[in-house]
């Protein structure tokens, strides 16, 4: 067992549902967040790395995207001790559920849920691949094939094209404009040396957080964490110095076509502040008012009238945009939907939400959170994502608490401040055969 003094208890929080969350830190910078729950003999184990496609694009040694994601795949390809396929066999034998990994702009995570009597085995396995991954040229080439398949599959989706176009259009400087998956050319071009550099640089204990929710205790978990992670050496993590995005001063519009689209798709993105900003609270509630439930405003004015098959409006963090996404019904146009969205926005800017609207939105937010955090892996996801977005895993709970004091005029104020035409990008994806109706910019040829 490791020394009892090699980790510190950083802080502890009582959550509103009665759970206790405690944060620890090992001497090498490895952070651990533990929420013990003993209702069932299972636990969720998640390792989050503070690295994603933004980091690789800003790293002068790489300056491209796609490696963070490709590397995530390589983490399942074996170490010296557990060769290719063995990790999966062992975790499967343990009875692991919900086992997977994901990569995004700002983070990469690896996760599984296991019976709690298998805790030490999963700590050992996860620590082993974090420290002793065997990067093999042949396996790298094979995995590139799978990743290219994943990319092509994504490119077959009109919705995916729409979102990529929105990022490219809304961001002129910040590398949100480059896709997480990278291009086919980039994926095929990655070398073993680049993968090794990426692993050594970013998969360090001081760039990682372990989140455990479920049937364990500090007494059981922390000695194991020390034993398997405590000796890892911290690394000098390159600072992520993102360029400043110039303030948008005029609306941008892009129209693209997709061979497989059979109806139009509208995406609109308005720049908003980061989630730490006080306006994140009313913006979050505004999204709920527009999108959650059968009484959601966008559903009533677009879906219930047969104009769209789905309609969403809400705030996203990193990228910080208030997005509208409307999938049109056949025979209806994005132009028609945009006029309706604009009318709704004008209404939000000029008319206060009623007491009933406010009550509905706040209680729907509560229901969503109450429902989600009862599940071990959902709570771990919630904490991990919030931590990676803003460095404060309690921010989601803070926003919920702030709803108690929010007024309708705050919603109106953020609608006025941020939902301005000059602050937005509008993307329309059409079927290839349909002529452009609202294009103001030249039509862009895509896949």
């Amino acid at each position: 067992m490791g020394l009892a003094t090699s980790y510190n208890k950083v802080t502890s929080h009582k959550l509103f549902n009665g759970d206790t969350l405690t944060e620890y830190k090992l001497k090498n910078g490895f952070r651990v967040i533990l929420v013990p729950r003993h209702q069932a003999k299972v636990l969720t184990y998640q390792v989050w790395f503070d690295v994603g496609s933004l980091n690789e694009k800003m790293d002068p040694k790489l300056n491209k995207t796609g490696l963070a994601h490709l590397f995530e795949h390589m983490m399942f390809r074996g170490s010296e001790k557990y060769p290719d396929g063995v990790f999966d066999q062992i975790t499967s034998r343990l009875g692991a559920e919900k086992q997977n990994a994901t990569t995004y702009f700002y983070r990469t995570n690896y996760y599984e849920s296991v019976p709690s009597d298998k805790l030490e085995r999963i700590v050992e396995l996860e620590a082993d691949r974090m420290e002793h991954l065997k990067l093999d040229a042949d396996l790298l080439e094979k995995e590139k094939g799978a990743v290219v398949g994943e990319l092509r599959r994504a490119n077959d989706s009109p919705g995916r094209l729409g979102w990529d176009e929105l990022m490219r259009t809304a961001y002129q400087k910040v590398p949100f404009r480059y896709t997480v998956l990278g291009s086919e050319e980039e994926i095929k071009g990655f070398t073993l040396e680049e993968a090794q550099y990426f692993y050594k640089t970013f998969y360090a204990p001081n760039n990682a957080t372990l989140i455990v929710v479920g049937d364990t205790t500090e007494k059981d978990l922390l000695p194991l964490v020390e034993k398997y992670y405590g000796h890892m050496k911290p690394q000098q993590i390159p600072a992520l110095n993102l360029p400043e995005e110039p303030m948008q001063t005029a609306e941008r519009r892009v129209r693209a076509s997709h061979k497989q689209a059979t109806s139009e798709l509208l995406l609109v993105g308005y720049h908003i502040p980061t989630v730490e900003h006080g306006d994140a609270v009313p913006l979050s509630l505004l999204g709920t008012h527009l999108s959650r439930g059968r009484e959601a405003r966008l559903r009533k004015v677009l879906v219930d009238k047969g104009i769209a098959v789905s309609a969403f409006g809400g705030a996203s963090a990193r990228p910080d945009l208030f997005e509208f996404v409307v999938a049109l019904a056949e025979g209806h146009t994005a132009d028609e939907a945009l006029k309706i969205v604009d009318k709704e926005v004008r209404s939000l800017q000029t008319t206060l939400l009623t007491k009933g609207d406010m009550e509905r939105s706040i209680n729907q937010e509560r229901l969503k959170l109450y429902s989600e955090i009862g599940d071990n892996s959902e709570l771990a996801n919630f904490l991990g994502e919030t931590l990676m977005i803003c460095g404060n895993y309690m921010r989601g709970f803070e926003i919920l608490e702030a709803f108690d004091n929010i007024k309708a005029k705050s919603i109106q104020a953020v609608a006025k401040t941020y939902l301005q035409t000059k602050n937005r990008s509008v993307i329309v994806i059409s079927p290839e055969k349909a002529p452009a109706a609202i294009a103001k910019t030249p039509k862009k040829k895509t896949k």
Binding site: N17, G18, Q39, A40, K41, V42, D84, G85, D88, Q89, S92, R93, L94, G95, A96, E97, Q99, S113, P115, K118, K142, E143, G145, A146, V148, G149, E150, R152, R153, D156, P158, K259, Q260, A261, T262, G293, R294, E295, V303, K305, G306, A308, V309, A327, A329, E330, G356, E359, R360, N363, Q364, R366, L367, Y370, S371, G374, D375, N376, E432, K447
Partner: protein, 446 residues
Amino acid sequence: MPKARAAEPTLLFEADPTLLTTTVRIVFLTGSSSEPKDKAGLANIVSELVLRGTKKRSRGEFQAALERMGAGFDVGAAHDKTIFSGEVIRENTQAFFKLIQETISEPTLSKKELDLLRTETLAEINNVKNSNGALAGMALRRVAFEGSRLSVSGSGTLSSVKAIDLADVKAFYKQHYSQANMVVAVASPLPEKEIRSLVEKLAAKLPEGVKNSSPTSDLKVPARPTLVVVDKPGTATGTVFMGQGGMTAQDPDRFAMEVGNFSFGGEPLVSRLFRKVRGELGYTYSISSTYSAMGSLSYQKGMFAIVSTPSVEFTTKTIRKSLQMWSDYRTQGVDREELDLASDSIVNSYPFDFESADKRLAKRLYCHLYGVPLLSPADYAKTIRGVTNDGIKKAIAKHQSENGWWITLVADANAMEKQLAEEQKGVPAAERLEIGMRFTPDELVR
């Protein structure tokens, strides 16, 4: 098990005082299998209309009251059941039950709402053409269940939904929404006695009715692997469905078949299909096999399917390799190591079925609906560890075909034809895969 009769509605209850919400599932034993043949989509339309206005409140008033109290209530119709699922923040459980009692027992079922819903449903059916995975699944249904109600999805087709009128809706509601057909499942921090009283009030508002017997349909398989292409020019990848007959939920061979399938294709990261076709050959991003291809296992014999997502240039290779691996598995079964891995994994993951009140409830509800026993961990482990390779081989030989595969995919049909010719140059004519049928996306939704 509780019995379904007028004064005592069937209630499955899970207590958990730590819950912040109450979850409710109200199941009616009716679905698309009970629809008249030319009214596909009726069960779905009726279930949706139940949520669109009561005799006391308009649709908007009802939904606003529901959502303002911090609740959600939705519905989904499958082939053999319709499930209303809701959740409410705990302090409003009583008020929530009053509202759902009102909507289920006194829906307006108005012409105005039917017309609006029909417009929405037609738009959704048309929108399926944007999804290659959904199109390939629809093509598989079309050929495998040809002539039966299951040949189209629960939403119906453009023509069948247009044919549904208000008289159809009212007749269907009257016949199927009764006490005899209702099962209620609740997980709540409130005491069972309190919940039972609420459920009894709900049941009392419904007619006693007659319990449905859900009709089942035969599944047709071809004599040899038959390729069915949904023609969509420009497709770079596509979901490939390879389907044939599976099993029912009650089949005594189900444990052997599930254990075998774990090793063949059921467990994504360690199965043969995944390790070979994705891991070694790199043909596809994902590949797996399942006995739940047409929803969960039920009284209806379902479909066994191998589902993959290859890049277009590897489509033929992926299909041919999958067929060869199926043939090997069918004749030889699994080896000792595979069997041990499957048994350990399935037994060790069983606690996850009981990790929360909601999951325990879902498990109990499934067992109740389909007449299968809820096994204790010890009995479950004994059953799974009792599966042998001989048992697996016998079960597969008894239930499943070597060559009777429907293979459906979305592709550029002309490009696919060229690829088949190129990739099968040395293959004897009798063993070649050929396109047996073509659909356009429009034909599948029409």
